[in-house]
Protein backbone atom coordinates (compact mmCIF):
# COMPACT_ATOMS: atom_id res chain seq x y z
CA UNK A 1 0.00 0.00 0.00
CA UNK A 2 1.34 3.30 -1.08
CA UNK A 3 1.95 6.21 1.29
CA UNK A 4 0.48 9.64 0.56
CA UNK A 5 2.74 12.66 0.20
CA UNK A 6 1.80 13.73 3.71
CA UNK A 7 2.67 10.34 5.12
CA UNK A 8 5.98 10.33 3.23
CA UNK A 9 6.80 13.75 4.64
CA UNK A 10 6.24 12.45 8.15
CA UNK A 11 8.38 9.37 7.42
CA UNK A 12 11.18 11.62 6.18
CA UNK A 13 10.83 13.84 9.25
CA UNK A 14 11.29 10.85 11.55
CA UNK A 15 14.36 9.83 9.54
CA UNK A 16 15.78 13.35 9.84
CA UNK A 17 15.52 13.13 13.61
CA UNK A 18 17.43 9.83 13.60
CA UNK A 19 20.07 11.21 11.24
CA UNK A 20 20.87 14.09 13.55
CA UNK A 21 20.79 11.82 16.60
CA UNK A 22 23.22 9.35 15.02
CA UNK A 23 25.72 12.01 14.08
CA UNK A 24 25.33 13.75 17.45
CA UNK A 25 25.90 10.51 19.40
CA UNK A 26 28.94 9.56 17.31
CA UNK A 27 30.20 13.17 17.26
CA UNK A 28 31.20 12.38 13.71
CA UNK A 29 29.61 11.64 10.36
CA UNK A 30 27.86 13.34 7.49
CA UNK A 31 24.57 15.03 8.32
CA UNK A 32 24.38 17.45 5.37
CA UNK A 33 24.11 14.92 2.56
CA UNK A 34 21.91 12.64 4.63
CA UNK A 35 19.39 15.41 5.18
CA UNK A 36 19.43 16.40 1.49
CA UNK A 37 18.82 12.88 0.22
CA UNK A 38 16.29 11.65 2.77
CA UNK A 39 13.02 12.75 1.15
CA UNK A 40 14.04 10.82 -1.97
CA UNK A 41 15.23 7.71 -0.15
CA UNK A 42 12.22 7.61 2.17
CA UNK A 43 9.76 7.79 -0.72
CA UNK A 44 11.78 5.23 -2.70
CA UNK A 45 11.75 2.66 0.10
CA UNK A 46 8.17 3.30 1.17
CA UNK A 47 6.49 3.25 -2.24
CA UNK A 48 8.78 1.81 -4.89
CA UNK A 49 11.48 -0.68 -3.92
CA UNK A 50 10.53 -4.36 -4.16
CA UNK A 51 12.42 -5.56 -1.08
CA UNK A 52 11.64 -7.82 1.87
CA UNK A 53 12.92 -6.61 5.26
CA UNK A 54 12.56 -10.13 6.70
CA UNK A 55 14.51 -11.56 3.76
CA UNK A 56 17.09 -8.92 2.85
CA UNK A 57 19.04 -11.25 0.54
CA UNK A 58 15.99 -12.24 -1.54
CA UNK A 59 17.66 -12.77 -4.90
CA UNK A 60 15.08 -11.07 -7.07
CA UNK A 61 14.80 -7.88 -5.02
CA UNK A 62 15.25 -4.42 -6.45
CA UNK A 63 18.63 -3.00 -5.53
CA UNK A 64 19.34 0.33 -3.91
CA UNK A 65 22.95 1.38 -4.14
CA UNK A 66 23.95 4.36 -2.04
CA UNK A 67 27.05 5.35 -3.96
CA UNK A 68 27.54 8.48 -1.83
CA UNK A 69 28.14 6.09 1.04
CA UNK A 70 29.16 8.73 3.57
CA UNK A 71 25.49 9.78 3.69
CA UNK A 72 24.88 6.54 5.52
CA UNK A 73 22.81 7.95 8.41
CA UNK A 74 20.03 8.65 5.91
CA UNK A 75 20.08 5.06 4.71
CA UNK A 76 20.31 3.56 8.20
CA UNK A 77 17.36 5.68 9.30
CA UNK A 78 15.11 4.37 6.53
CA UNK A 79 16.37 0.79 6.96
CA UNK A 80 15.31 1.01 10.60
CA UNK A 81 11.92 2.47 9.66
CA UNK A 82 11.41 -0.36 7.17
CA UNK A 83 12.46 -3.02 9.66
CA UNK A 84 15.72 -4.23 8.08
CA UNK A 85 17.50 -3.23 11.27
CA UNK A 86 16.24 -2.16 14.70
CA UNK A 87 16.10 1.35 16.13
CA UNK A 88 18.64 0.05 18.65
CA UNK A 89 21.02 -0.73 15.79
CA UNK A 90 21.14 2.97 14.94
CA UNK A 91 23.11 3.46 18.14
CA UNK A 92 25.89 1.37 16.64
CA UNK A 93 26.67 4.04 14.04
CA UNK A 94 30.48 4.39 13.92
CA UNK A 95 30.81 2.21 17.04
CA UNK A 96 33.24 -0.72 17.09
CA UNK A 97 31.49 -3.88 15.92
CA UNK A 98 28.32 -2.04 14.95
CA UNK A 99 26.14 -2.92 11.94
CA UNK A 100 26.04 0.80 11.12
CA UNK A 101 29.58 1.28 9.84
CA UNK A 102 30.74 4.80 9.00
CA UNK A 103 30.01 4.18 5.34
CA UNK A 104 27.29 1.71 4.30
CA UNK A 105 28.70 -1.78 3.99
CA UNK A 106 26.98 -4.86 2.56
CA UNK A 107 29.05 -7.14 4.77
CA UNK A 108 27.84 -5.47 7.94
CA UNK A 109 24.29 -4.24 7.53
CA UNK A 110 21.19 -6.15 6.34
CA UNK A 111 19.50 -4.41 3.44
CA UNK A 112 22.68 -2.79 2.16
CA UNK A 113 23.50 -3.95 -1.37
CA UNK A 114 26.85 -2.26 -1.87
CA UNK A 115 29.94 -1.51 0.21
CA UNK A 116 30.40 2.17 -0.40
CA UNK A 117 32.78 4.80 0.90
CA UNK A 118 34.89 5.53 -2.14
CA UNK A 119 33.10 7.88 -4.50
CA UNK A 120 32.40 7.11 -8.15
CA UNK A 121 31.95 3.36 -7.71
CA UNK A 122 28.24 2.75 -7.24
CA UNK A 123 27.07 3.35 -10.78
CA UNK A 124 29.44 0.74 -12.21
CA UNK A 125 28.40 -1.72 -9.51
CA UNK A 126 24.77 -0.96 -10.34
CA UNK A 127 25.55 -1.74 -13.97
CA UNK A 128 26.68 -5.20 -12.95
CA UNK A 129 23.45 -5.68 -10.99
CA UNK A 130 21.42 -4.44 -13.95
CA UNK A 131 23.16 -6.79 -16.39
CA UNK A 132 22.58 -9.62 -13.90
CA UNK A 133 18.86 -8.82 -13.85
CA UNK A 134 18.73 -8.90 -17.62
CA UNK A 135 20.66 -12.19 -17.84
CA UNK A 136 18.18 -13.73 -15.39
CA UNK A 137 15.14 -12.31 -17.21
CA UNK A 138 14.20 -10.58 -13.98
CA UNK A 139 11.95 -7.54 -13.62
CA UNK A 140 14.18 -6.19 -10.86
CA UNK A 141 15.13 -2.55 -11.03
CA UNK A 142 18.42 -1.06 -9.90
CA UNK A 143 18.43 2.37 -8.24
CA UNK A 144 21.72 4.18 -7.65
CA UNK A 145 21.98 7.34 -5.57
CA UNK A 146 24.85 9.62 -6.62
CA UNK A 147 26.03 12.86 -5.09
CA UNK A 148 26.63 15.84 -7.32
CA UNK A 149 30.23 16.27 -6.22
CA UNK A 150 30.67 12.56 -6.85
CA UNK A 151 30.11 12.90 -10.59
CA UNK A 152 33.46 14.69 -10.78
CA UNK A 153 34.95 11.18 -10.60
CA UNK A 154 35.89 10.10 -14.12
CA UNK A 155 34.71 6.54 -13.73
CA UNK A 156 31.11 7.80 -13.37
CA UNK A 157 31.29 8.74 -17.02
CA UNK A 158 32.80 5.38 -18.00
CA UNK A 159 29.71 3.85 -16.45
CA UNK A 160 27.30 6.39 -17.94
CA UNK A 161 28.63 5.60 -21.41
CA UNK A 162 28.60 1.86 -20.84
CA UNK A 163 25.07 1.79 -19.40
CA UNK A 164 23.72 3.40 -22.56
CA UNK A 165 25.87 1.17 -24.78
CA UNK A 166 24.26 -1.84 -23.13
CA UNK A 167 20.79 -0.17 -23.15
CA UNK A 168 20.26 -0.85 -19.46
CA UNK A 169 16.67 0.29 -19.08
CA UNK A 170 16.55 -1.29 -15.63
CA UNK A 171 19.24 1.07 -14.31
CA UNK A 172 18.02 4.23 -12.61
CA UNK A 173 20.03 7.03 -11.02
CA UNK A 174 18.94 9.61 -8.47
CA UNK A 175 21.33 12.54 -8.36
CA UNK A 176 21.30 14.45 -5.09
CA UNK A 177 22.08 17.90 -6.45
CA UNK A 178 22.75 19.66 -3.15
CA UNK A 179 25.50 21.88 -4.62
CA UNK A 180 27.97 21.29 -1.78
CA UNK A 181 30.90 18.89 -1.47
CA UNK A 182 33.49 18.25 1.22
CA UNK A 183 35.57 21.40 1.10
CA UNK A 184 33.11 23.94 -0.26
CA UNK A 185 30.38 24.63 -2.80
CA UNK A 186 30.68 22.54 -5.98
CA UNK A 187 30.79 25.74 -7.98
CA UNK A 188 34.04 26.64 -6.23
CA UNK A 189 35.61 23.18 -6.26
CA UNK A 190 34.81 22.09 -9.81
CA UNK A 191 32.28 23.79 -12.02
CA UNK A 192 30.08 21.21 -13.70
CA UNK A 193 28.05 23.48 -16.00
CA UNK A 194 25.00 21.88 -17.59
CA UNK A 195 24.59 18.57 -15.76
CA UNK A 196 21.28 17.54 -17.41
CA UNK A 197 22.80 18.17 -20.86
CA UNK A 198 25.78 15.99 -20.00
CA UNK A 199 23.58 13.00 -19.17
CA UNK A 200 21.39 13.65 -22.18
CA UNK A 201 24.50 13.69 -24.34
CA UNK A 202 25.40 10.26 -22.95
CA UNK A 203 21.99 9.04 -24.13
CA UNK A 204 20.16 8.96 -20.80
CA UNK A 205 16.57 9.98 -20.12
CA UNK A 206 16.63 12.94 -17.76
CA UNK A 207 14.12 14.59 -15.47
CA UNK A 208 14.63 17.40 -12.94
CA UNK A 209 12.64 17.94 -9.77
CA UNK A 210 12.70 19.72 -6.44
CA UNK A 211 13.94 16.93 -4.20
CA UNK A 212 12.11 18.22 -1.14
CA UNK A 213 8.65 18.68 -2.68
CA UNK A 214 7.11 15.29 -2.01
CA UNK A 215 4.62 15.56 -4.89
CA UNK A 216 7.52 16.20 -7.25
CA UNK A 217 9.56 13.42 -5.64
CA UNK A 218 6.74 10.97 -6.33
CA UNK A 219 6.41 12.24 -9.87
CA UNK A 220 10.16 11.85 -10.33
CA UNK A 221 10.31 8.33 -8.93
CA UNK A 222 7.32 7.40 -11.14
CA UNK A 223 9.40 8.62 -14.08
CA UNK A 224 12.33 6.38 -13.06
CA UNK A 225 10.15 3.35 -12.41
CA UNK A 226 8.32 3.68 -15.70
CA UNK A 227 11.31 4.45 -17.93
CA UNK A 228 12.31 0.92 -18.84
CA UNK A 229 13.63 1.30 -22.37
CA UNK A 230 16.55 3.54 -21.47
CA UNK A 231 18.82 4.28 -18.51
CA UNK A 232 17.25 7.17 -16.64
CA UNK A 233 18.43 9.81 -14.21
CA UNK A 234 16.38 11.92 -11.83
CA UNK A 235 18.23 15.11 -10.99
CA UNK A 236 16.84 16.19 -7.65
CA UNK A 237 17.60 19.77 -6.66
CA UNK A 238 18.06 19.67 -2.92
CA UNK A 239 19.38 21.71 -0.04
CA UNK A 240 22.30 20.29 1.90
CA UNK A 241 21.35 19.96 5.57
CA UNK A 242 17.63 20.38 4.75
CA UNK A 243 15.45 20.69 7.84
CA UNK A 244 18.02 22.03 10.28
CA UNK A 245 18.37 25.78 9.84
CA UNK A 246 22.05 26.23 10.64
CA UNK A 247 23.06 23.20 8.54
CA UNK A 248 21.12 24.27 5.45
CA UNK A 249 23.33 25.26 2.53
CA UNK A 250 26.29 25.29 4.90
CA UNK A 251 29.45 23.50 3.70
CA UNK A 252 30.61 23.20 7.33
CA UNK A 253 28.00 20.52 7.96
CA UNK A 254 29.02 18.20 5.14
CA UNK A 255 30.97 16.18 7.66
CA UNK A 256 30.58 17.63 11.14
CA UNK A 257 28.46 16.84 14.19
CA UNK A 258 26.31 19.31 16.11
CA UNK A 259 27.31 20.26 19.65
CA UNK A 260 24.86 20.04 22.59
CA UNK A 261 23.28 23.40 21.93
CA UNK A 262 23.02 22.81 18.19
CA UNK A 263 21.54 19.39 18.78
CA UNK A 264 18.77 20.86 20.93
CA UNK A 265 17.99 23.42 18.24
CA UNK A 266 17.86 20.67 15.59
CA UNK A 267 15.48 18.52 17.63
CA UNK A 268 13.19 21.49 18.22
CA UNK A 269 13.18 22.41 14.55
CA UNK A 270 12.43 18.83 13.56
CA UNK A 271 9.54 18.69 16.01
CA UNK A 272 11.15 16.12 18.27
CA UNK A 273 10.76 16.29 22.04
CA UNK A 274 13.97 15.22 23.80
CA UNK A 275 13.93 14.35 27.46
Amino acid sequence: MSMSSTELQELARKCRVEIVKMVYRAQAGHPGGSLSEIDLIAALYANYLRVKPDSPDWEDRDRFILSKGHASPGMYAILAEMGFISKQDLESYRVLGGVCQGHVDMKWCPGVDFSAGSLGMGLSFGMGCAISGRLKNSERQIFVMLGDGEIQEGSIWEAAMAAKHHELGNLKVILDRNRIQNDDFCETQMRMFDIPAKWQAFGWSVKEINGHDMDEVVEGLDFLKNTNDNPAILIAHTVKGKGVSYMEDNPSFHGAAPNDEQFAIAMAELGEVVN
Binding site: D105, S124, G128, C129, M161, A162, H165
Partner: protein, 312 residues
Amino acid sequence: MTRMAATRDGYGQALLDLADNEKVVVLEADLGKSTKSLHFRKQYPERTISCGIGEQNMLLTAAGLASSGFIPFASTFAIFTERAFEQMRNGVARPNLAVHLCGSHGGTHTGTDGSSAQSIEDLAIFRTLPNVVVLHPCDDVSTRLLTMQLADLSQPSYTRTARNKTPVMYDGRESEIEIGKGVIIKQGTDVAIIACGVMVSESIKAAEQLISEGISATVIDMHTIKPLDEELIETMAKSCGAIVTAEDHNIIGGLGGAVAEYLSSNIPTPLERVGVKDRFGESGQADEMLDLMEISSPHIASAAIRAINRKK
Protein backbone atom coordinates in the same frame (compact mmCIF):
# COMPACT_ATOMS: atom_id res chain seq x y z
CA MET B 1 61.04 -31.11 -28.71
CA THR B 2 59.42 -29.10 -25.96
CA ARG B 3 56.02 -27.69 -26.86
CA MET B 4 55.92 -23.88 -26.65
CA ALA B 5 52.78 -21.97 -25.70
CA ALA B 6 51.63 -18.73 -24.13
CA THR B 7 49.89 -18.72 -20.77
CA ARG B 8 47.24 -16.34 -22.10
CA ASP B 9 46.08 -19.11 -24.44
CA GLY B 10 45.49 -21.30 -21.39
CA TYR B 11 43.27 -18.56 -19.98
CA GLY B 12 41.24 -18.35 -23.19
CA GLN B 13 40.82 -22.12 -23.26
CA ALA B 14 39.73 -22.23 -19.63
CA LEU B 15 36.92 -19.74 -20.26
CA LEU B 16 35.63 -22.00 -23.04
CA ASP B 17 35.91 -25.04 -20.80
CA LEU B 18 33.94 -23.21 -18.09
CA ALA B 19 31.21 -22.04 -20.42
CA ASP B 20 28.79 -24.85 -19.54
CA ASN B 21 28.45 -23.15 -16.18
CA GLU B 22 25.87 -20.49 -17.02
CA LYS B 23 26.98 -18.38 -14.08
CA VAL B 24 30.28 -17.69 -15.82
CA VAL B 25 30.38 -14.28 -17.48
CA VAL B 26 33.30 -12.58 -19.20
CA LEU B 27 34.20 -8.90 -19.16
CA GLU B 28 36.54 -7.17 -21.56
CA ALA B 29 38.10 -3.74 -21.82
CA ASP B 30 38.91 -3.75 -25.54
CA LEU B 31 41.76 -6.23 -25.18
CA GLY B 32 39.94 -9.54 -25.57
CA LYS B 33 41.96 -10.37 -28.65
CA SER B 34 45.11 -10.04 -26.58
CA THR B 35 44.01 -11.63 -23.30
CA LYS B 36 42.28 -14.39 -25.32
CA SER B 37 38.80 -13.97 -23.93
CA LEU B 38 37.77 -13.41 -27.55
CA HIS B 39 37.14 -17.13 -28.03
CA PHE B 40 34.47 -17.01 -25.32
CA ARG B 41 33.02 -13.83 -26.78
CA LYS B 42 32.66 -15.42 -30.21
CA GLN B 43 30.71 -18.38 -28.86
CA TYR B 44 28.86 -16.70 -25.98
CA PRO B 45 28.31 -13.05 -26.94
CA GLU B 46 25.29 -12.76 -24.61
CA ARG B 47 27.52 -13.56 -21.63
CA THR B 48 30.38 -11.30 -22.69
CA ILE B 49 30.28 -7.68 -21.58
CA SER B 50 32.29 -5.10 -23.43
CA CYS B 51 33.32 -2.32 -21.08
CA GLY B 52 35.14 -0.30 -23.71
CA ILE B 53 38.49 1.11 -22.67
CA GLY B 54 37.38 1.52 -19.07
CA GLU B 55 39.05 -0.73 -16.54
CA GLN B 56 37.60 0.93 -13.45
CA ASN B 57 34.06 0.47 -14.69
CA MET B 58 34.87 -3.12 -15.70
CA LEU B 59 36.03 -4.15 -12.22
CA LEU B 60 32.95 -2.77 -10.50
CA THR B 61 30.53 -4.07 -13.10
CA ALA B 62 32.10 -7.44 -12.38
CA ALA B 63 31.56 -6.83 -8.66
CA GLY B 64 27.88 -6.10 -9.27
CA LEU B 65 27.57 -9.32 -11.25
CA ALA B 66 29.30 -11.31 -8.51
CA SER B 67 26.97 -9.82 -5.89
CA SER B 68 24.07 -11.09 -8.00
CA GLY B 69 25.31 -14.67 -8.19
CA PHE B 70 27.42 -14.68 -11.34
CA ILE B 71 31.07 -15.72 -11.65
CA PRO B 72 32.79 -12.91 -13.54
CA PHE B 73 36.12 -13.26 -15.31
CA ALA B 74 37.51 -9.86 -16.30
CA SER B 75 40.73 -9.32 -18.19
CA THR B 76 42.96 -6.65 -19.60
CA PHE B 77 46.71 -6.07 -19.74
CA ALA B 78 48.39 -6.55 -16.37
CA ILE B 79 49.57 -2.96 -16.46
CA PHE B 80 46.01 -1.63 -16.86
CA THR B 81 44.64 -3.69 -13.98
CA GLU B 82 46.78 -1.42 -11.84
CA ARG B 83 44.64 1.54 -12.94
CA ALA B 84 41.68 -0.15 -11.24
CA PHE B 85 43.56 -1.04 -8.07
CA GLU B 86 41.30 0.92 -5.76
CA GLN B 87 38.22 -0.56 -7.42
CA MET B 88 39.74 -3.97 -6.75
CA ARG B 89 40.47 -2.93 -3.18
CA ASN B 90 37.25 -1.22 -2.17
CA GLY B 91 34.74 -2.70 -4.60
CA VAL B 92 35.92 -6.31 -4.85
CA ALA B 93 38.34 -7.38 -2.09
CA ARG B 94 36.70 -5.55 0.80
CA PRO B 95 33.22 -7.08 0.27
CA ASN B 96 34.99 -10.32 -0.74
CA LEU B 97 33.17 -10.70 -4.05
CA ALA B 98 34.48 -13.54 -6.20
CA VAL B 99 35.60 -11.48 -9.18
CA HIS B 100 38.44 -13.04 -11.15
CA LEU B 101 40.77 -10.52 -12.70
CA CYS B 102 43.37 -11.58 -15.25
CA GLY B 103 46.23 -9.35 -16.31
CA SER B 104 47.93 -10.54 -19.46
CA HIS B 105 51.20 -9.31 -20.97
CA GLY B 106 52.76 -9.10 -17.50
CA GLY B 107 56.41 -8.42 -16.82
CA THR B 108 59.30 -7.14 -18.90
CA HIS B 109 59.07 -10.35 -20.95
CA THR B 110 56.16 -8.73 -22.80
CA GLY B 111 58.88 -7.05 -24.80
CA THR B 112 58.83 -4.49 -27.55
CA ASP B 113 55.86 -2.41 -26.42
CA GLY B 114 58.31 -0.97 -23.93
CA SER B 115 58.17 0.11 -20.32
CA SER B 116 54.64 1.54 -20.33
CA ALA B 117 53.29 -1.96 -20.99
CA GLN B 118 55.65 -3.92 -18.76
CA SER B 119 53.90 -4.40 -15.45
CA ILE B 120 56.45 -5.13 -12.74
CA GLU B 121 54.30 -4.16 -9.74
CA ASP B 122 51.08 -6.15 -10.18
CA LEU B 123 51.96 -9.17 -8.04
CA ALA B 124 53.09 -6.92 -5.21
CA ILE B 125 50.09 -4.64 -5.13
CA PHE B 126 47.43 -7.31 -5.43
CA ARG B 127 49.21 -9.42 -2.83
CA THR B 128 48.62 -6.67 -0.29
CA LEU B 129 44.83 -6.99 -0.57
CA PRO B 130 43.04 -9.15 2.02
CA ASN B 131 40.91 -11.95 0.52
CA VAL B 132 42.65 -11.84 -2.88
CA VAL B 133 44.33 -14.96 -4.31
CA VAL B 134 47.29 -14.14 -6.56
CA LEU B 135 48.41 -16.51 -9.31
CA HIS B 136 51.21 -16.37 -11.87
CA PRO B 137 51.34 -19.66 -13.78
CA CYS B 138 54.23 -20.70 -16.01
CA ASP B 139 52.53 -22.50 -18.90
CA ASP B 140 49.27 -22.83 -20.77
CA VAL B 141 48.30 -26.13 -19.13
CA SER B 142 48.60 -24.84 -15.57
CA THR B 143 46.96 -21.53 -16.49
CA ARG B 144 43.97 -23.39 -17.90
CA LEU B 145 43.63 -25.64 -14.86
CA LEU B 146 44.15 -22.90 -12.29
CA THR B 147 41.66 -20.62 -14.04
CA MET B 148 39.10 -23.41 -14.04
CA GLN B 149 39.67 -23.96 -10.32
CA LEU B 150 38.98 -20.26 -9.71
CA ALA B 151 35.36 -20.76 -10.70
CA ASP B 152 34.85 -22.76 -7.48
CA LEU B 153 36.57 -20.19 -5.29
CA SER B 154 34.48 -18.01 -2.97
CA GLN B 155 36.97 -15.15 -2.97
CA PRO B 156 38.44 -12.83 -5.60
CA SER B 157 41.65 -13.43 -7.51
CA TYR B 158 44.27 -11.85 -9.68
CA THR B 159 46.07 -13.96 -12.29
CA ARG B 160 49.01 -12.72 -14.30
CA THR B 161 49.53 -14.29 -17.70
CA ALA B 162 52.20 -13.59 -20.30
CA ARG B 163 52.11 -12.55 -23.92
CA ASN B 164 54.97 -14.65 -25.27
CA LYS B 165 55.40 -18.40 -25.61
CA THR B 166 57.36 -20.35 -23.05
CA PRO B 167 58.16 -24.06 -22.67
CA VAL B 168 55.22 -26.21 -21.52
CA MET B 169 55.84 -28.00 -18.22
CA TYR B 170 52.65 -29.80 -17.42
CA ASP B 171 51.68 -31.95 -20.41
CA GLY B 172 50.95 -35.26 -18.66
CA ARG B 173 51.32 -33.68 -15.21
CA GLU B 174 47.90 -32.03 -15.07
CA SER B 175 46.92 -33.67 -11.78
CA GLU B 176 49.67 -31.80 -9.91
CA ILE B 177 48.02 -28.41 -10.39
CA GLU B 178 46.19 -27.04 -7.41
CA ILE B 179 45.72 -23.45 -6.19
CA GLY B 180 48.00 -22.83 -3.22
CA LYS B 181 50.33 -25.78 -3.86
CA GLY B 182 53.77 -25.21 -5.31
CA VAL B 183 55.09 -27.92 -7.62
CA ILE B 184 58.57 -29.46 -7.57
CA ILE B 185 59.51 -29.45 -11.24
CA LYS B 186 63.03 -30.75 -10.69
CA GLN B 187 64.43 -32.28 -7.52
CA GLY B 188 67.89 -31.33 -6.19
CA THR B 189 69.74 -31.14 -2.89
CA ASP B 190 71.98 -28.05 -2.66
CA VAL B 191 69.67 -25.13 -3.33
CA ALA B 192 65.98 -24.57 -4.07
CA ILE B 193 65.03 -22.14 -6.82
CA ILE B 194 61.49 -20.92 -6.29
CA ALA B 195 60.14 -19.31 -9.44
CA CYS B 196 56.93 -18.14 -11.04
CA GLY B 197 55.71 -17.46 -14.55
CA VAL B 198 58.23 -17.16 -17.35
CA MET B 199 61.05 -17.56 -14.84
CA VAL B 200 60.25 -21.22 -14.20
CA SER B 201 61.79 -22.29 -17.50
CA GLU B 202 64.72 -19.93 -16.95
CA SER B 203 65.24 -21.58 -13.57
CA ILE B 204 65.32 -25.03 -15.15
CA LYS B 205 67.99 -23.77 -17.55
CA ALA B 206 69.89 -22.39 -14.56
CA ALA B 207 69.65 -25.75 -12.78
CA GLU B 208 71.11 -27.44 -15.88
CA GLN B 209 73.95 -24.89 -15.97
CA LEU B 210 74.63 -25.54 -12.28
CA ILE B 211 75.22 -29.26 -12.89
CA SER B 212 78.58 -28.43 -14.51
CA GLU B 213 79.50 -26.59 -11.30
CA GLY B 214 78.66 -29.74 -9.36
CA ILE B 215 75.52 -28.18 -7.88
CA SER B 216 72.22 -29.98 -7.60
CA ALA B 217 69.27 -27.59 -7.62
CA THR B 218 65.59 -28.05 -6.93
CA VAL B 219 63.23 -25.99 -9.10
CA ILE B 220 59.81 -25.11 -7.80
CA ASP B 221 56.94 -23.60 -9.74
CA MET B 222 55.29 -21.32 -7.19
CA HIS B 223 52.30 -20.48 -9.37
CA THR B 224 50.33 -19.28 -6.35
CA ILE B 225 51.93 -16.20 -4.81
CA LYS B 226 49.10 -15.90 -2.30
CA PRO B 227 48.26 -17.89 -0.29
CA LEU B 228 51.93 -18.91 -0.24
CA ASP B 229 52.77 -22.61 0.07
CA GLU B 230 54.66 -22.13 3.32
CA GLU B 231 54.87 -25.84 4.04
CA LEU B 232 56.81 -26.46 0.83
CA ILE B 233 59.13 -23.52 1.51
CA GLU B 234 59.84 -24.83 4.98
CA THR B 235 60.63 -28.28 3.57
CA MET B 236 63.00 -26.72 1.03
CA ALA B 237 64.68 -24.52 3.63
CA LYS B 238 65.37 -27.62 5.72
CA SER B 239 66.42 -29.98 2.92
CA CYS B 240 68.45 -27.57 0.73
CA GLY B 241 69.47 -24.90 3.25
CA ALA B 242 69.64 -22.19 0.60
CA ILE B 243 66.92 -20.56 -1.47
CA VAL B 244 66.72 -18.44 -4.60
CA THR B 245 63.58 -16.73 -5.84
CA ALA B 246 63.14 -15.80 -9.50
CA GLU B 247 60.48 -13.56 -10.96
CA ASP B 248 59.94 -11.18 -13.87
CA HIS B 249 58.74 -8.51 -11.46
CA ASN B 250 60.18 -5.76 -9.33
CA ILE B 251 62.41 -7.21 -6.63
CA ILE B 252 60.24 -5.32 -4.15
CA GLY B 253 57.10 -6.99 -2.91
CA GLY B 254 56.54 -9.91 -5.29
CA LEU B 255 57.38 -13.60 -4.95
CA GLY B 256 60.81 -12.83 -3.49
CA GLY B 257 59.26 -10.49 -0.98
CA ALA B 258 56.67 -13.06 0.03
CA VAL B 259 59.27 -15.80 0.50
CA ALA B 260 61.57 -13.43 2.41
CA GLU B 261 58.71 -12.49 4.74
CA TYR B 262 58.03 -16.13 5.50
CA LEU B 263 61.64 -17.22 5.93
CA SER B 264 62.74 -14.29 8.07
CA SER B 265 59.93 -14.84 10.56
CA ASN B 266 59.95 -18.62 10.64
CA ILE B 267 63.10 -20.31 9.43
CA PRO B 268 65.90 -17.87 8.58
CA THR B 269 67.71 -19.31 5.56
CA PRO B 270 70.20 -17.84 3.07
CA LEU B 271 68.01 -16.29 0.36
CA GLU B 272 68.96 -14.59 -2.91
CA ARG B 273 66.21 -12.81 -4.83
CA VAL B 274 66.36 -12.55 -8.61
CA GLY B 275 64.04 -9.89 -9.99
CA VAL B 276 63.87 -6.53 -11.70
CA LYS B 277 66.12 -4.26 -9.65
CA ASP B 278 63.65 -1.46 -8.96
CA ARG B 279 63.88 0.06 -12.41
CA PHE B 280 61.71 0.39 -15.50
CA GLY B 281 62.24 -1.54 -18.69
CA GLU B 282 62.44 -0.48 -22.32
CA SER B 283 61.64 -1.88 -25.77
CA GLY B 284 63.32 -5.15 -26.63
CA GLN B 285 62.69 -8.79 -27.44
CA ALA B 286 61.56 -11.00 -24.56
CA ASP B 287 64.89 -12.79 -24.13
CA GLU B 288 66.79 -9.51 -24.50
CA MET B 289 64.68 -8.06 -21.70
CA LEU B 290 65.49 -10.92 -19.33
CA ASP B 291 69.20 -10.36 -20.00
CA LEU B 292 68.94 -6.58 -19.65
CA MET B 293 67.07 -6.94 -16.36
CA GLU B 294 69.67 -9.49 -15.16
CA ILE B 295 67.05 -12.13 -14.46
CA SER B 296 67.86 -14.70 -17.18
CA SER B 297 69.25 -18.14 -16.36
CA PRO B 298 72.94 -17.19 -15.84
CA HIS B 299 71.85 -14.64 -13.25
CA ILE B 300 69.74 -17.24 -11.48
CA ALA B 301 72.69 -19.65 -11.49
CA SER B 302 74.99 -16.98 -9.99
CA ALA B 303 72.40 -16.23 -7.32
CA ALA B 304 72.25 -19.94 -6.48
CA ILE B 305 76.01 -20.07 -5.96
CA ARG B 306 75.84 -16.96 -3.76
CA ALA B 307 73.08 -18.48 -1.66
CA ILE B 308 74.98 -21.74 -1.24
CA ASN B 309 78.14 -19.86 -0.22
CA ARG B 310 76.15 -18.19 2.53
CA LYS B 311 75.31 -21.51 4.18
CA LYS B 312 77.02 -21.88 7.53
